[in-house]
């Protein structure tokens, strides 16, 4: 095994993700992106609302859930940098936790499967 130990690699990667989501995210472009920009083409907007024209976004509806983290902001925190940064940190930890849990569960099942498989030494 050359280079950095796995534990340090994972810790470093997670720290980088936290840094990107927590701090660098505040430098991100706030222009509508890809699909969003295409969806708006053909419509006139005033204060974020469609005032005329035909476009894909016309049929778009409010998000079904919303929630305290909606739009990568933490509801109740007014400072935009702090709000976005903290939402990013929460998101990275949530995704890391959910991902690790899902992949651990899938792995544990494999171990169980192997135990139930016939022992190749007994066949033949």
């Amino acid at each position: 095994m050359r280079g950095v130990r796995t534990r340090w690699f994972l810790l470093g990667g997670l720290l980088l993700a936290l840094l990107l989501a927590g701090i660098v995210s505040n430098l991100a472009s706030s222009s509508p992106d890809g699909l969003d920009a295409v969806s708006r083409q053909g419509c006139e907007y005033s204060r974020g609302r469609i005032t005329g024209g035909e476009c894909i976004a016309r049929s778009g509806r409010e998000h079904e859930v919303g929630g305290p983290l909606a739009g990568y902001r933490i509801a109740g925190i007014d400072n935009p940098y702090l709000s976005t940064g903290l939402a990013g940190v929460v998101g990275v930890l949530l995704v890391f936790g959910t991902g690790t849990a899902v992949f651990r569960l899938a792995r544990r099942d494999t171990a169980t499967d192997r135990r139930h498989q016939p022992d190749p030494r007994n066949t033949g």
């Binding site: 796995t6 706030s30 995704v95």
Partner: protein, 235 residues
């Protein structure tokens, strides 16, 4: 920083959204079955990290045209680092968390989004990765070119995934040919960013721990020859 290729609710009609939820569910189940056999002590923690990293980088919108931005989708990156099955699962987890907790992408559009950005995009990326790694020299540049191309074209593929969904069940009546042109053009530009970020990240990981790059496993697992020639060691 909302959206990118994340479809909101109400853009594609209910029957098509539901059909895609079925497709995404079947795809997710197949990926879980396949991933089980691969999730060893190296891949399992890497997979959680890849999901977290993709979430973080998806927050970083970069400008592509005046008034238009884009961000990484992550399918090519995930396919390179943890393979197609685990990679598709990692991106799916990101998309579900975004839809349920960050109001990014409609809940009723989860199937549409998973199908485009996790399944279709990963499939296209991994197909390109397998072919290009075989054709290109086993060097750092070979890996970078592979990562860039897979990132670029998997982004365009995901965009056309949406075009198909809109053609099948778009609620508004924009001509699909126009949607195809607009989506293709914009995502070709976003794909350049995607390709760049994917190449930089994968090459960085390959420098530090090549054994943690799934796509290079067949190289790093090769038994060490009796007379090692460092100049020929890939990446």
């Amino acid at each position: 920083m909302l959206s990118a290729l994340h479809i909101q609710n109400g853009i594609v009609n209910a029957p098509i959204s539901l059909a895609y939820l079925g497709i995404a569910g079947v795809g997710f189940a197949i990926a879980i079955r396949q991933a089980r056999h691969q999730l060893d002590e190296r891949l399992a923690p890497m997979a959680g990290l890849v999901a977290a990293y993709v979430f973080a980088v998806q927050m970083l919108n970069f400008p592509v045209l005046p008034g238009v931005s884009g961000h990484l989708l992550g399918a090519a990156l995930a396919a390179l680092l943890v393979g197609p099955w685990v990679g598709a699962l990692a991106v799916s987890i990101v998309l579900v968390v975004q839809a349920l907790l960050f109001a990014d992408g409609g809940v009723t559009a989860i199937g549409l989004n998973v199908a485009n950005m996790a399944l279709l995009s990963t499939a296209v990326a991994y197909g390109l990765i397998v072919v290009l790694l075989r054709l290109l020299p086993a060097t750092r540049s070979g890996l970078a070119v592979t990562a860039f191309t897979a990132g670029l074209l998997s982004t365009v593929a995901a965009a056309f995934g949406f075009v198909l969904q809109y053609a099948l069940g778009g609620v508004t009546q924009m001509p699909w040919e126009w949607v195809a042109g607009a989506m293709g053009g914009t995502h070709l530009l976003i794909g350049i960013g995607e390709g760049g970020i994917t190449a930089v990240t994968v090459v960085a990981v390959a420098r530090v721990r090549p054994d943690l790059v799934y796509a290079l496993r067949h190289r790093t697992r090769r038994p060490v020859s009796a007379t090692p020639r460092p100049a020929e060691v890939p990446v």
